[in-house]
C-alpha cells in the first residue's frame, strides 16, 4: 500500500469524481468528496514525510520501465506543492457545503455535479504536480482547466459565464502553446520523461527548435499562471466564481502553474540554459516588477472586494516570479515558500469573504459596512489573512517577504528590495480600505447580518490560525522550501 502512495494520490480523487456524480445532492455527496480530499491530504503528508526521510520517490505507472511508461516522481519540491494543493482542497471542500447549497446557480438536483467538477479539478492539479512525464503534465493540465471553467461558470452573477468563457479561450491557448513546446522537445530528444529530457537537451540545446520550444513553453505557462501582462482572465474569473471556487483556485491553480514553470526551466532545461543562454530572468524580472506594482495599484481602486483580492493575487504572483528571476537559492526559497504562504493567506481571505457574502449577499465594499461588529469572527479571520498578505512579522506572509528582500540584497539589487517594501505598503492600503468599512462605518439601518454559521467559520479559522502558526514555526514553509530550492539549483544540501 505504502509503495503505491504516488498513484493513490491521483487515483483517489479521480475515482471519487464519478462517484460524486452518482450520489444524490446533500450530505452524502459532500461526505464522499470530503473523505476523498482528506485522504489525498493524508497521502500528501505521508509522501512528504517519506521524501524528507529517504529522498526522491520514483513510481512506475503499471510497472512499465521508464522510457516507455509514465513515471511519477516525487522530490522535495513537488511533495511540498502536493501538500499545499491537497491541504487547501480538503479545507475548502469542508467549508463548501453551505455555500454550494445556497449560493451557487445550480438547481438542487444538479448540485452533485459541483463536487464532480471540484474533485476532477483537484485530480488535475495533483496530477500535474506529481507526474514525471511532460505530456502527462498537459493531460492533467487540461483536466484541471476544463473542470475549473465549469466551476467558475456556476457563479450567481451572469458575468461568471463570460469570465469562464474568457478563461476558456486564454487557458486553451496557453495549454496548446505548452503542447507545441512539448512536441518540439519530443522531436529533438525522442523522449517525454522529464529526467530523460534533462539528460538529452544539452546535446541539442543550441538549435532553433529547442529555442522555439522554450519560447512556447514560457508563454504557455505564463498564461496559465497569470504572469503580467497575460493575467487578463484572472480578475473576472476570481471575482464572479462562487467563493468556494475562488478560494480553491486562488490558493492552488496558479501555484501549480508556478510549479510547472520551475519544473520546466530548472529541472528540464536546467538553470544554465534558461537563465544564462536564454536569459529568461531579463524578461521575468521587469514583468514581475511591473506586475507587482500595477496590480497592487489597481487593487486599491476596486469596489468589489473579491476583485480587489484577485488583483492582489496577480501582484503576489509577481513576487513569486521575482524570486525565480533572482536565480539564487534564497530567491527560489522565497518563491517556493510564498507558494505555501500565499495559499494560506488567500485561502483565508477568500473564505472569510465567502462567509461575508453568505450573510450579506455580495462581496461589495459598500455592503460590508459594519460587518466587523456584527460578524466579529469572520472579520477577525479576514484581518489575520490581511496582515499575512501585507507581510507583518509573526505571520506566514512575513517569511517569504523576508527571503525575497534578503535575496534581492544578496544580489545588490537594493531598488528591488525597496520596491518589495513599498508595494507591501500598497497592500496595507487596500486591506485597510476593507477594515475601515467593516469596523468604522455604521451598518445601514435595518441590516444586521448575523455571524456566519460554524460550518463556515471553523475551516476559515483553521487556515487563519495556520497563517499565525507558520509565521512562528518556519521549518515547513522555509525549511522544506530551501531544500526544494537547493534541489532545483543542484547545489549541495
Amino acid at each position: 500500500m505504502i509503495a503505491h502512495l504516488p498513484a493513490l494520490q491521483v487515483i483517489i480523487p479521480l475515482v471519487s469524481a464519478p462517484l460524486c456524480a452518482l450520489l444524490p445532492a446533500g450530505r452524502a455527496v459532500w461526505l464522499a468528496a470530503m473523505t476523498a480530499s482528506w485522504l489525498a491530504f493524508l497521502i500528501a503528508v505521508l509522501l512528504l514525510d517519506r521524501v524528507l526521510a529517504h529522498g526522491p520517490i520514483s513510481y512506475l505507472m503499471g510497472g512499465w520501465p521508464v522510457p516507455w511508461g509514465i513515471e511519477y516522481r516525487v522530490d522535495a519540491l513537488n511533495a511540498f506543492v502536493l501538500l499545499i494543493v491537497a491541504a487547501i482542497g480538503a479545507v475548502v471542500i469542508t467549508f463548501g457545503r453551505e455555500i454550494v447549497e445556497r449560493r451557487i446557480r445550480l438547481p438542487e438536483s444538479k448540485q452533485s455535479w459541483f463536487y464532480t467538477a471540484y474533485m476532477l479539478c483537484l485530480t488535475g492539479l495533483l496530477g500535474i504536480t506529481i507526474t514525471g512525464d511532460a505530456f502527462n503534465v498537459f493531460v492533467f493540465l487540461e483536466i484541471s482547466s476544463l473542470s475549473s471553467y465549469v466551476l467558475i461558470s456556476i457563479g450567481r452573477d451572469r458575468r461568471a459565464l463570460t469570465a469562464a468563457y474568457q478563461y476558456l479561450i486564454m487557458g486553451t491557448i496557453g495549454a496548446t502553446f505548452i503542447l507545441i513546446g512539448i512536441g518540439l522537445l519530443y522531436v529533438m530528444t525522442g523522449t517525454l520523461n522529464m529526467g530523460d529530457l534533462a539528460a538529452r537537451i544539452p546535446a541539442v540545446a543550441d538549435t532553433r527548435t529547442v529555442h522555439a520550444a522554450f519560447a512556447f513553453l514560457t508563454v504557455g505557462v505564463g498564461l496559465k499562471l497569470a504572469l503580467f501582462p497575460l493575467h487578463l482572465w484572472l480578475p473576472n474569473a476570481y471575482a464572479y466564481a462562487p467563493s468556494v471556487v475562488t478560494a480553491f483556485l486562488a490558493a492552488t491553480a496558479t501555484k501549480v502553474a508556478i510549479y510547472v514553470l520551475l519544473r520546466f526551466f530548472f529541472t528540464i532545461f536546467g538553470s544554465e540554459f534558461s537563465f544564462e543562454t536564454m536569459e529568461l530572468d531579463r524578461v521575468l524580472l521587469p514583468l514581475a516588477l511591473v506586475g507587482i506594482f500595477s496590480a497592487s495599484v489597481v487593487a486599491i481602486f476596486q469596489t468589489n472586494v473579491k476583485r480587489m483580492l484577485a488583483y492582489s493575487s496577480v501582484a503576489q504572483i509577481g513576487y513569486m516570479i521575482l524570486g525565480i528571476s533572482l536565480v539564487s537559492v534564497t530567491g527560489l526559497t522565497a518563491s517556493i515558500s510564498h507558494l505555501f504562504n500565499h495559499a494560506l493567506m488567500k485561502g483565508t481571505l477568500f473564505m472569510a469573504l465567502g462567509c461575508v457574502s453568505f450573510r450579506v449577499g455580495a462581496a461589495k465594499l459598500d455592503r460590508m459596512a459594519g460587518v466587523g461588529r456584527t460578524m466579529p469572527w469572520t472579520m477577525g479571520a479576514f484581518v489575520i489573512g490581511g496582515l499575512s498578505l501585507i507581510g507583518v512579522p509573526l505571520t506566514a506572509g512575513f517569511v517569504s517577504k523576508w527571503f525575497l528582500v534578503v535575496g534581492a540584497l544578496e544580489k545588490g539589487w537594493w531598488p528591488v528590495a525597496v520596491l518589495v517594501l513599498v508595494t507591501s505598503l500598497l497592500a496595507v492600503i487596500y486591506v485597510w480600505r476593507v477594515v475601515e468599512v467593516a469596523y468604522f462605518k455604521p451598518a445601514p439601518e435595518g441590516q444586521a447580518p448575523r455571524e456566519a454559521p460554524l460550518a463556515l467559520l471553523v475551516p476559515t479559522w483553521a487556515l487563519a490560525l495556520a497563517n499565525l502558526y507558520f509565521g512562528l514555526d518556519t521549518s515547513l514553509n522555509a525549511g522544506v522550501a530551501r531544500l526544494a530550492a537547493q534541489g532545483l539549483l543542484g547545489v549541495g544540501q
Partner: protein, 119 residues
C-alpha cells in the same frame, strides 16, 4: 526542395496563425471557438507529421517492412484530440448559456450590457 520537404510544417504554421488570428480578431463568441479549433487542429498536424518517417510503414510487424513510422506522437495526439473536443463542447455550452443570459453572442454588446449594469 528543403521548403517543399517541410510542407506539413508550413501548413501547421499557416493554420496555427489563421486560427490564432480569428480567436483574437473576431468579436463573435462562436467564431472565436472556430478559430480556437483551427488553432488546436494545426497542432495535431504538427504531431502527426513528426511521427512520419519517409518510406516507413504502419508500426505492425509484417514481412518485408524495415522502416516503421513512430506511433508515439499519433497516440499522444489522440489524447489531445479528445481534449480539443471537450474544450469545444464546453465552450459551446458556455456560449448557449451566455446567449440565454445576455440575448447576444457578440462580445461588444455583452460588454455594453455589463457596463450599463455597472452604472
Amino acid at each position: 526542395m528543403a521548403i517543399l520537404g517541410l510542407y506539413n510544417y508550413w501548413i501547421f504554421i499557416i493554420l496555427m496563425m489563421c486560427g490564432f488570428y480569428v480567436v483574437i480578431s473576431s468579436g463573435n463568441l462562436v467564431k472565436k471557438l472556430v478559430g480556437l479549433n483551427i488553432f488546436q487542429t494545426s497542432v495535431f498536424i504538427l504531431y502527426i507529421s513528426m511521427g512520419k518517417i519517409i518510406g516507413g510503414t504502419a508500426p505492425i510487424i509484417v514481412d518485408k517492412a524495415v522502416v516503421y513510422s513512430n506511433p508515439m506522437p499519433h497516440v499522444l495526439i489522440l489524447t489531445a484530440i479528445v481534449v480539443g473536443i471537450a474544450t469545444t463542447s464546453l465552450g459551446l455550452a458556455l456560449v448557449v448559456r451566455i446567449n440565454e443570459a445576455y440575448g447576444t453572442i457578440e462580445e461588444d454588446e455583452i460588454h455594453a450590457q455589463d457596463r450599463e449594469e455597472a452604472l
